[in-house]
């Protein structure tokens, strides 16, 4: 039941926030924040109370909720949560709270509608992370798309229309391909077994012809790699990120991209292990190209938000690389990367937003020398710039190191190329620091003041989290350990046709029980 509440709280909160705007605009901010805070507290409580290292395969699902929705088509409203989903949810609610805080000053018109959209995007994301029914999954995939379109299109910067369209078309077109693939899986499974269902667990063991499997897999893959994004489908991202309001960039970089990574781990590999393995070398290659190409583009940008957006392209290349390396080290690294990139890039976008609020430009050529005016901000910037270049002691290092150590087993050449991406990361990251905070101060008509209390209240927790993830990543890694081992095992199972693991998966099918 609790899983349903996660979504209901957000959707209801969004509606209420919209309505109360009539009386008091600040109230909609408070309501949104409260809704997210409640969810966050619940998620953290579940996390702190659950033992994730239990050995039995059944315990992988912490909570499960299923009711029939459209039984005639075999559609159920089925939510379930394992360690991976829970981690993603905590990230979602945490960044959600920050996105409300960061909009406090920035958003000054249609405040209620803004928060409605914000909460509905987050509700869609929450749904995506929880759904175990493919039809419902597609539903939530769309739910997060449309409010995001409004967030960019209404509250964005000067070129917002273009960016919003582009974002919508890229995601929608690729989403449709996924819908086709979902229907394909549905009908093939129905034909073979006689039960027509969209249920994830029942579809898991569907036998496909290798050719069919490849096409269906590509349908899913395309939707996820557009979201991730992977070169050459990345071009919506810099426009969307740079034109969106700060909260929008934060959610895009911190969460929406992660739904792509999540989809790869949850659907592409478990549903089509063989087909995924067949393309793994290509997928990894595209990951590496993304790392290097993203770094190159980030280096040349002069629009601060665009620069940060391209660093996301580069960092998400590591995700692609790690997912298709098919081993526990790399896949665990991917989970870390999803979280730490959410935190560090989110923080950089918030910083970019703060800079924009002060000097009303995103052009780094018009910035410089702000250290003396805003040392606190400079310090925060150092932390996240260092996180983005992978400095040990901060979370991103753990992620990238695990991915690279893991990939070494799969491909030496690609690992070496990906590692050189760290040099590129150094170059573009230090450029951020230099252009904004070092050098002689560029005077502008607006006084450059240090972070306000509200901004500190956002940045300090982010710093603490990224340091905590860097020094004590093990609680996170333990949480995702069993789900990720299963992802890796589906792969080895399909290769070895191991009987033992089949039994393990059959148990899964009959599993159930709401733990709450």
């Amino acid at each position: 039941m609790i899983l349903l509440w996660f979504i209901i709280i957000l959707m209801a909160g969004g509606i209420v926030a919209w309505i109360v705007e009539k009386w008091n605009a600040d109230l909609s901010r408070w309501i949104s924040f409260l809704a997210l805070a409640v969810n966050f507290v619940i998620a953290v409580m579940i996390w702190s109370q659950h033992d994730f290292m239990l050995a039995e395969p059944n315990s992988i699902w912490i909570a499960d909720y299923a009711v029939n929705w459209i039984p005639i088509f075999g559609i159920t409203f089925h939510l379930a949560m394992d360690g991976l989903s829970l981690l993603m949810l905590m990230l979602t609610f945490f960044l959600g709270m920050l996105s409300v805080l960061t909009s406090w000053k920035e958003i000054q018109f249609k405040i209620g509608f803004f928060h409605f959209n914000l909460l509905w995007v987050l509700a869609g994301i929450t749904g995506v992370f929880l759904t175990m029914d493919l039809f419902l999954f597609y539903f939530f995939w769309e739910v997060m798309l449309i409010p995001m379109y409004f967030l960019i299109g209404i509250w964005g910067h000067e070129n917002r229309r273009y960016a919003a369209y582009k974002f919508f078309i890229f995601t929608q077109a690729s989403g449709l391909l996924m819908l086709l693939a979902i229907l394909g899986v549905y009908f093939i499974h129905g034909n073979v077994t006689g039960t027509y269902t969209f249920d994830y667990f029942q579809l898991l063991n569907t036998p496909f012809e290798p050719d069919t499997a490849r096409w269906l897999m590509l349908g899913f893959l395309i939707a996820f790699v557009v979201k991730l994004p992977v070169i050459p489908f990345h071009t919506w991202l810099p426009d969307a990120h740079s034109q969106a309001p700060t909260a929008g960039s934060l959610i895009l970089a911190g969460l929406l991209l992660k739904t792509g990574a999540y989809g790869l781990l949850r659907f592409v590999i478990p549903l089509f292990p063989d087909a995924a393995h067949d393309i793994s070398k290509w997928a990894m290659l595209f990951g590496v190209i993304g790392i290097l190409y993203g770094a190159l583009l980030a280096f040349s940008q002069t629009d601060l938000k665009r620069l940060i957006a391209y660093t996301s392209v580069s960092h998400m290349g590591f995700v692609m690389l790690g997912v298709f390396a098919f081993n526990e080290l790399a896949v665990q690294g991917v989970v870390m990367q999803m979280i730490t990139h959410g935190i560090s890039t989110g923080a950089l976008f918030i910083l970019a937003g703060s800079v924009y609020e002060r000097i009303h430009t995103r052009d780094i050529n018009q910035m410089g020398g702000y250290w003396s005016k805003a040392p606190f901000m400079g310090f925060i910037a150092i932390v996240f710039v260092m996180a983005s270049l992978g400095l040990p002691g901060l979370g991103n290092f753990v992620a990238e190191f695990l991915i690279l150590v893991g990939t070494w087993n799969s491909s030496h050449l690609l690992t070496i190329l990906a590692t050189t991406g760290l040099v590129g990361a150094t170059a573009y990251s230090l450029r951020i620091m230099q252009r904004i905070f070092y050098g002689t101060e560029i005077k502008s008509s607006h006084p450059f003041v240090d972070l306000s209390l509200r901004e500190k209240a956002m940045m300090v927790p982010l710093v603490l989290v990224i340091v905590w993830l860097g020094l004590f990543p093990q609680p996170i890694l333990n949480t995702s350990k069993i789900p990720m081992m299963k992802v890796v095992q589906t792969q080895s199972k399909s290769k070895q046709e191991s009987v033992a693991l089949d039994i393990l998966n059959n148990k899964e099918d009959s599993k159930g029980g709401d733990h709450e």
Partner: protein, 628 residues
């Protein structure tokens, strides 16, 4: 007492944390107390731990603080490993570090970034201690990158000047290239041994690999890549001279005494891997030999006091690499220690001079400082004597003499290495005393208004004493049988085996070394005191050579043309992202098709009629053709 080991890196980190949190609100006095005090305490504990360690019979001591990561067999812990090697390093880091902190309290006292400076400095000391105490390579890498960060922050400390920022980024990026190689080395090591725990690797390596095994050679070269970047050796040496943009205490601590010797530490720590990879080890020696010569020649032509010292540092670390290359492990570490003392001394003294001369860096604008600044003069002279390896009375003589001798007589030594070291020694002695004579003798060119205070001079005196007396703990056999240092290191680093029958020739080599070193001093004396017009004539007659050396053998220019400019060029022309342009074309195509089809929908009936008729004819024709 050994149980206090974890406190040694923790104290400077705590200092840094306190300064981050409170720095700007505290008075300078409190900042100095936290900054210097935390390192001082760490130095004290190091001594206690060291005494305890020496009195116990164990050769090493581990301390696990917590498990950092534990995924699929990769289990690096936050854990410290104390043995003779790490003890030497933590002693130098905390002790020299403390002296430099004390010096900085006066040197930086008028700087607006006082608290920031000590924050970075403490952070550096903490990271450096992690580097040398780490019991696994992931933690070592943690420290390794941490010191890189602090080096970046401190080179660019005076951030208002764009040039300093450039130097800082250059240092970070170039060392990161080396780090990348090292990281790949770690991946390979993990694949080979299933662990990154240093001691486990060192025990397993001889069982897994035979001497010269391909994998071992690859890994050793990759680790060498990391070492070369951090220690500013060929071909990644170009960042160090520019790193002099940082305040002088930074140059003394990071870019002379400690961080730049991290490569030496890494190689000696992983010496078993290098012994299994003779090819890589030989290249350590070759790189060392080449670097010490190249940097030495460049030092001859510099006129910026700190740049002379920077090239000298590169060159002296070249000696350490040379020693590592011939397997003279403890000689390398001995030279590291003595070098840390005298080079820190020289940088601090140089910093004091520059400070008192209102930021004058050019030695040719100094002159005659001998009588004005006697304490600085005498300590600088002692440091220079050590650097130039003036025989018998300086520490530098004993440490460098050992390397000279072993580069010839060691099992892996040869005449080439020896000659490089010998020529290097001559050049060292020339440029060192050129610096001394030009700066302190002759006529006064810039006026000195006041002299340095005690917080600056006392560290100089202590370091001068250390760089002289520390040499006596390890004497060559031809003089006396004192081997305190190599005996101490013996449990960690094997003793070098000499070539057969070499022992008896040791005094000849020493004699040559003495002559070379004193000859260098005389040449400098002849050129800069007796015939001061000679150097200028020489310079004008060979201006091309001079400039080539002056600019560090053209490496900067070459890298700029080969790597930096093409990268920036490609990045700049592709700023708009060519892939996005393809999508733009797609949009244009869709737009064009839209227009075409919209145009056909004109609403004119006769056009539709024509369309239907033409269509019908086409269909009929086609079906007839296909039908027949």
């Amino acid at each position: 007492m050994k149980e206090l080991l974890w406190l040694i890196p923790t104290l400077p980190f705590t200092g840094a944390l306190l300064l981050i949190l409170l720095g700007r609100k505290l008075p300078r006095f409190a900042v100095s107390l936290i900054g210097a005090g935390s390192v001082g305490l760490a130095a004290l504990i190091t001594i206690l731990v060291g005494i305890d360690f020496n009195s116990s019979s164990e050769n090493s001591f581990q301390q696990i603080v917590w498990t950092w990561i534990d995924v699929a067999g990769l289990k690096p812990q936050i854990a410290f490993h104390l043995d003779a090697l790490s003890l030497v390093f933590i002693f130098v880091i905390t002790f020299v570090g403390f002296l430099i902190h004390v010096y900085s309290t006066e040197f930086m006292q008028d700087d607006e970034g006082y608290a920031r400076f000590f924050t970075y400095l403490n952070l550096f000391v903490g990271s450096m201690l992690i580097l040398v105490l780490a019991d696994n390579l992931v933690l070592l890498y943690f420290g390794w990158e941490g010191v890189g960060l602090c080096s970046y922050l401190l080179i660019g400390f005076w951030y208002l000047d764009e040039k300093n920022g450039y130097a800082a980024r250059k240092a970070f990026i170039i060392t990161r290239i080396g780090d990348t190689a090292m990281a790949i080395g770690l991946f390979m090591l993990f694949k080979a041994f299933g662990t990154l725990h240093i001691q486990d690797i060192l025990t397993q390596a001889p069982q897994t690999w035979t001497v010269g095994s391909e994998e071992a050679v690859f890994i050793a070269f990759l680790l060498l890549g990391g070492a070369v970047g951090k220690s500013a050796q060929l071909p990644l040496q170009t960042w160090l001279p520019d790193a002099m943009a940082g305040p002088s205490p930074v140059s003394a601590l990071i870019h002379a005494a400690t961080m730049v010797t991290a490569g030496v530490y890494l190689i000696s720590r992983m010496h078993i891997v290098f012994e299994l990879a003779p090819l890589a080890q030989m290249w350590v020696g070759i790189i060392g030999a080449l670097t010490l010569l190249l940097a030495g020649f460049s030092a001859l032509t510099q006129f910026d006091l700190k740049r002379i010292l920077a090239y000298s540092t590169i060159s002296q670390i070249g000696y350490m690499f040379l020693a590592l290359g011939v397997g003279a492990w403890s000689a390398a570490i001995f030279h590291f220690m003595i070098h840390a003392f005298f080079k820190a001394l020289l940088f601090l003294a140089a910093g004091a001079i520059i400070h008192l001369l209102h930021h004058e860096h050019d030695i040719f604008k100094m002159g005659g400082l001998k009588n004005k600044l006697p304490t600085i003069y005498w300590t600088f002279l002692i440091g220079s004597a050590s650097l130039a390896a003036i025989p018998f009375i300086t520490g530098g003589f004993y440490s460098k003499d050992a390397i000279l001798w072993l580069s010839l007589a060691g099992e892996k030594g040869n005449v080439g290495f020896f000659l490089a070291a010998l020529i290097g020694a001559f050049i060292t002695s020339v440029y060192t005393f050129r610096m001394v004579f030009v700066t302190f003798f002759g006529t006064e060119k810039t006026h000195v208004s006041h002299s340095a205070g005690s917080r600056m001079t006392i560290p100089l005196i202590v370091l001068a004493a250390l760089s002289t007396f520390a040499g006596f703990i390890e004497l060559p056999h031809s003089i006396a049988h004192v081997e305190l240092f190599s005996n101490f290191l013996h449990p960690v680093l094997p003793t070098i085996t000499l070539q057969e029958g070499a022992e008896s020739k040791e005094w000849i080599v020493q004699l040559i070394a003495v002559v070379v070193s004193l000859g260098g001093v005389y040449l400098a004396y002849y050129f800069y005191i007796k015939k001061p017009e000679l150097p200028d004539q020489l310079k004008t007659s060979s201006i091309a050579f001079h400039n080539f050396w002056f600019l560090g053998w053209g490496f900067d220019t070459a890298y700029d043309t080969l790597f930096v400019k093409p990268f920036v060029f490609v990045a700049t022309i592709n700023k708009q992202d060519i892939i996005d342009r393809l999508y733009d074309e797609l949009v244009k195509l869709a737009d064009f098709l839209h227009r075409v089809f919209a145009w056909t929908q004109s609403g004119i009936l006769r056009w539709y009629m024509v369309g239907i008729v033409v269509g019908a004819i086409l269909i009929v024709t086609l079906s007839l053709l296909v039908g027949s």
